[in-house]
Symmetry: C2
Subunit: 213 residues, 2 copies
């Protein structure tokens, strides 16, 4: 059985939960509380599993793996069906690019540790932190919406769920949580609604996790 | 022939240049000057190619692709040999995780647009921006060095160049440019030195590009 170290509100962990449910993979869902006691991810015992002290970490037998997209690619190679990468190099490339637009260019800027640094080191106010958060989501979603005009069908790439949708829905969750207006992104909203209607996405939702507040 | 829109100092473009040279792929190397005239990446004509207004963008026939790691995965599928992903799901997963440690958790925080925002919106001083830059590189390199103890041989994953090395060397270039001390990272330094001795890496180096200052 797989073991997933995550946190209910971590959107990187949320991605991996969606991927596991999509593939029907049972996993032991272990909470690494990112806030309590200064953050359990900083504990030395967790650092043995994940030297970056971030979530998620997947354990599959002898393999201990970090980075949500590397985990999802691994799951897609080790447990191929149903796939999360489309067939053919071109469609796969488009799915990966959309996923990385979120996972590399948007989410890391709004991660908990970054918001903490803005406050503690740069003395950013709550309003400035919120403006920062909104800025990077809007910047990413503007580009994403234009790209989805080229790539999407029912989902981000054509009519099948892919790694791109797995990244999109947690990012939309973050946007809603921080009250980013999504009116300008009709494709993002429509695709997210279709995803949320699927059991794999609803089972993975933050509120459904045992460590949710 | 491939067309690569990049910039000499962009470490994401640098990654793709290494990948192309590694595979012996000829490419038309077009400069998108990130500084001149407020940044050529913001021009509407470039936005048609890359709605995120970032570099790099690869054009291969009808395919227009952004995101350096998606581009490298595409090149590895479309032009398989010599490979940039190792064989077997476990080794591939480790290479991807190391690559994403850099491409998702380190580099995006130190990108030009982020440094600009820190200055213009948060009024960060030059010293504060430098401290920010150093902080995220050191945070990433500490974790990376520990992971390399588990995964590395001559290169990041075993004894062959992979996507992880392709990401590591441009990040070390950035670290050196901003005078981050690398004494605590002997594996990072040794692997970088071995990579730099290879023609694929030296041809891709920023100083070798036609748009270098």
């Amino acid at each position: 059985m797989l073991t997933l170290y995550g946190y209910w509100r971590s959107s990187a962990a949320y991605r991996v939960r969606i991927a596991c449910h999509h593939k029907g993979l049972a996993f032991d869902n272990r909470s690494v509380h990112l806030v309590r006691d200064g953050g359990e991810q900083h504990l030395p015992a967790y650092g043995v599993l994940n030297p970056n002290h971030l979530v998620p970490t997947l354990v599959d037998g002898d393999l201990i793996l970090n980075q949500s997209l590397a985990i999802i690619e691994y799951l897609d190679e080790a447990y191929p069906m149903p796939a999360l990468l489309p067939e053919g190099p071109v469609a796969r490339a488009k799915a990966r690019a959309l996923a990385q637009n979120i996972a590399s260019d948007c989410h890391p800027l709004n991660n908990l540790r970054v918001l903490k640094y803005l406050g503690s080191e740069l003395k950013a106010s709550e309003a400035q932190k919120t403006a920062w958060y909104h800025h990077w989501i809007k910047t990413a979603f503007e580009g994403l919406e234009l790209q989805l005009e080229q790539t999407s069908g029912e989902f981000c790439v054509g009519d099948e769920v892919s790694i791109a949708d797995v990244c999109l829905v947690p990012q939309v969750y973050n946007a809603e949580r921080f009250k980013v207006a999504l009116d300008d992104y009709p494709l993002i909203r429509a695709i997210t609604a279709r995803c949320r209607a699927l059991e794999s996405f609803s089972l993975a939702a933050p509120e459904q996790q045992p460590d949710a507040l």
